[in-house]
């Protein structure tokens, strides 16, 4: 049996190049597969590298062993408020004691809070050395020898830097007590206001450009410029935000005209300024995606609507927008992802590098997760890199959560 089909006498000008064409297909298939694999390797390396820093052994040394603070046979947890208070008073400077009392009077503090203060200021557990996950898992003997040699008094513990305390603690100048509460709240405030500003503006502009504007040179110029704006480096938006929102619009962005100034030192360097800057940054993304989604709505639907005596607004509202919503939300997802990870413009706009109180309004001073991560990785102590890795994981989880919400909303519209 021949492996070829019978040859027509008419196609003698065709040479059989079929094996060659199949070979080319195979080669390119492997090239495409290779690109995918390389991409996956890079991503896995990134994830491994981050998780490597989040979990591992730490050697902790206490300045004073808790047992030495109390009479034999009793533990700190068994003492009442007054006893704990006198222990604290006896072991810290009177200046610090007075300052703590001034912040919140000791009579108003619970037993747990005083225990926390004793832990922080008296026992002062310090991470003297930390090991990454790889070493902790595969070279435990090395870890043990190092602890025995270098830190005979230290306690070895296997911990995750990313834990409940890390999420709810404000920032601190000691990595052991540091958390991302302030940065997480700052990021949430910022992203919510950004979307509240950018989404309606962006969709409005997209509707105008696609459905209302005529095709003249001004509108073509506007459209071209929106495309270009999407590619402008984010730090330039930061400069713009600094000049306009922080400086020129300070009475508004600091809340002064509403008599809502949160902190006299904030001036215009508030959550509102940051959100407006980020909103400017993501506006082109939302407009472009919105325009494309609106353009993809079939013209026959518009014709059907106009043919029934609908006005432009009725056509847009009842037919164009509902059918464009999935595409519009895709643009919004991109915008959220972009805005939540931005660091440079916020540095320029004036994110605080160290604040330990919660943002309470759009007029609060703020810091965000990327700013916090950036600040921690630039510290000399190794432990700050551990908590930076933990913060990166929180940032990624936050991003995935927000995107999942947007995708769920989009799928709901697609099904309808």
């Amino acid at each position: 049996m021949s492996s070829h089909l019978p040859q027509s006498p008419l196609d003698n000008h065709v040479t059989s190049n079929l094996p060659g064409r199949h070979r080319a297909s195979r080669i390119w298939r492997y090239i495409f597969l290779g690109s995918t694999v390389i991409g996956i390797i890079f991503l896995s390396a990134l994830l491994l590298n981050i998780s490597n820093g989040v979990i591992g052994y730490v050697a902790i040394e206490n300045k004073i062993q808790p047992g030495k603070l109390v009479p034999a046979g009793v533990t700190l947890e068994e003492l009442d408020q007054d006893a704990l208070r006198s222990i604290l008073q006896a072991n810290i400077s009177s200046g610090l004691y007075r300052r703590l009392d001034r912040d919140i009077p000791f009579t108003d503090r619970s037993v747990d809070e005083i225990l926390k203060l004793i832990n922080q200021y008296v026992i002062e557990p310090t991470v003297v050395e930390s090991w990454d996950l790889y070493t902790s898992l595969f070279h435990k003997d090395t870890v043990l020898t190092e602890v025995a040699q270098n830190h005979p008094n230290a306690e070895l513990r296997f911990i995750s830097w990313l834990n409940g305390q890390f999420l709810v603690q404000p920032q601190n100048n000691r990595p052991e007590f540091s958390g991302i509460r302030t940065a997480l709240l700052g990021s949430l405030w910022t992203i919510v206001i950004t979307i509240l500003v950018a989404f309606p503006l962006g969709i409005g502009a997209a509707i105008y450009l696609e459905e209302y504007s005529t095709d003249n040179w001004i509108n073509r110029l506007i459209r071209t410029n929106i495309y270009n704006l999407a590619g402008v480096p984010s730090i330039i938006y930061g400069m713009l935000g600094l000049a306009i929102f922080v400086r020129a619009m300070a009475p508004l962005t600091s809340g002064a005209i509403f008599s809502l100034t949160d902190s006299p030192t904030a001036n215009g360097r508030t959550i509102l300024s940051a959100s407006l800057t980020l909103a400017l940054l993501v506006l082109p993304l939302i407009i472009i995606n919105g325009q494309e989604a609106i353009r993809a709505v079939p013209g026959s639907l518009r014709q059907a609507s106009y043919g029934l005596g609908a006005t432009k607004l009725q056509t847009v509202w009842h037919h164009v927008l509902p059918n464009a919503i999935p595409g519009i939300l895709t643009g919004t997802i991109l915008a959220i992802s972009r805005a939540i990870g931005e660091t440079a413009p916020l540095v320029v706009v004036g994110a605080s590098t160290f604040i330990d109180f919660d943002p309470t309004s759009p007029f609060s001073k703020f810091t965000t997760l990327p700013i916090q991560i950036y600040q921690w990785v630039s510290r000399p102590q190794a432990e700050f890199r551990n908590i930076a890795a933990a913060a990166i994981i929180v940032l990624m989880i936050l991003l995935l959560t927000l995107n999942t919400l947007a995708i769920a909303a989009r799928n709901r519209y697609i099904r309808r």
């Binding site: 026959s300 014709q303 059907a304 043919g307 029934l308 005596g309 059918n323």
Partner: protein
């Protein structure tokens, strides 16, 4: 009724707009940018009759149809000169709102284009936005009955309009047009995307609807024009591709005894 009139009379310019005509186009010129698409169309369309517009591709049949309810204005570059009277009122008068025109002169398109909504909503939506009062359920039922679709969809009104077959979708579009109580229904090749059985149903429906409505239908299908229409307008185009009205008259005249040689050639299939 003026069906016995000679063909020349219904294409001749009138000195006065006549309210007895459903549509009168007078010296209509239409442009897309600088391109002259149709020129000097003068045609009078009688009420409660089916008027077919036939002619070769690109001769401006659909363009003229869209001029009758100002749908052509949705094309940004389109421009219209001349006058179109609807029962004696010029619809291109600056005081006339095109949205109002389209409510009185409905349209059915070549490709069935139901909204991606329920069957009920497809019919009810147009009526509702136009401020229809009264019982919406009754209106939907009567429109679907008039479009000969009620029996097929009465048990699945909440299903998507897109779940219907092509022929049913087109009848849904007709029901949707009927629900806004128009005076005239313009149909732009309503059966060209349908199979012969669905086409036949649409043709029967057109015949029934012509008891109440004036219908203007653009078609490529000569047999369809001969089967359903009372009057036939034959369009052709000059060497610059500008369409114009060649001949207009009662369908039996046009098909059996055309005045022009070109018409006869087109109808007998010798050209076009």
């Amino acid at each position: 009724m003026r069906t016995s009139q000679p063909a020349q009379d219904i294409t001749s310019p009138l000195l006065e707009p006549d309210t007895n005509f459903a549509i009168q186009a007078q010296n209509l010129y239409m442009y897309y940018g600088s391109f002259l698409a149709v020129k000097d169309i003068t045609i009078n369309i009688l009420p409660q009759k089916i008027t077919a517009i036939i002619g070769p591709s690109g001769c401006g049949k659909s363009t003229v149809l869209r001029a009758f309810n100002r749908m052509n204005e949705l094309v940004r570059t389109a421009r219209t000169e001349g006058e179109v009277f609807f029962h004696g009122q010029n619809i291109y008068d600056p005081a006339i709102d095109p949205v109002e025109v389209r409510r009185h002169i409905g349209m059915v398109f070549q490709k069935p284009n139901p909204f991606p909504k329920s069957i009920y909503e497809n019919v009810a939506w147009g009526a509702r936005i136009n401020g229809a009062k009264g019982n919406m359920d009754d209106l939907v039922e009567s429109a679907l009955r008039a479009a000969a679709l009620w029996d097929e969809v009465k048990d699945k009104l909440s299903q998507s309009g897109l779940s219907l077959s092509g022929g049913q979708q087109q009848r849904l579009c007709i029901a949707r047009a009927i629900a806004i109580k128009p005076d005239i229904i313009l149909m732009d090749e309503p059966a060209s995307a349908l199979d012969p059985i669905a086409t036949l149903k649409i043709e029967e429906l057109m015949h029934d609807l012509s008891q109440q409505y004036t219908i203007v239908v653009v078609t490529h299908n000569m047999q369809q024009a001969a089967r359903v229409s009372d009057y036939t307008a034959f369009f052709t185009m000059d060497q610059d591709r500008a369409g114009y009205l060649m001949e207009f008259g009662p369908t039996d005249h046009i098909f059996t005894n055309p005045r022009e040689k070109v018409t006869e050639d087109y109808i007998t299939g010798r050209f076009g």
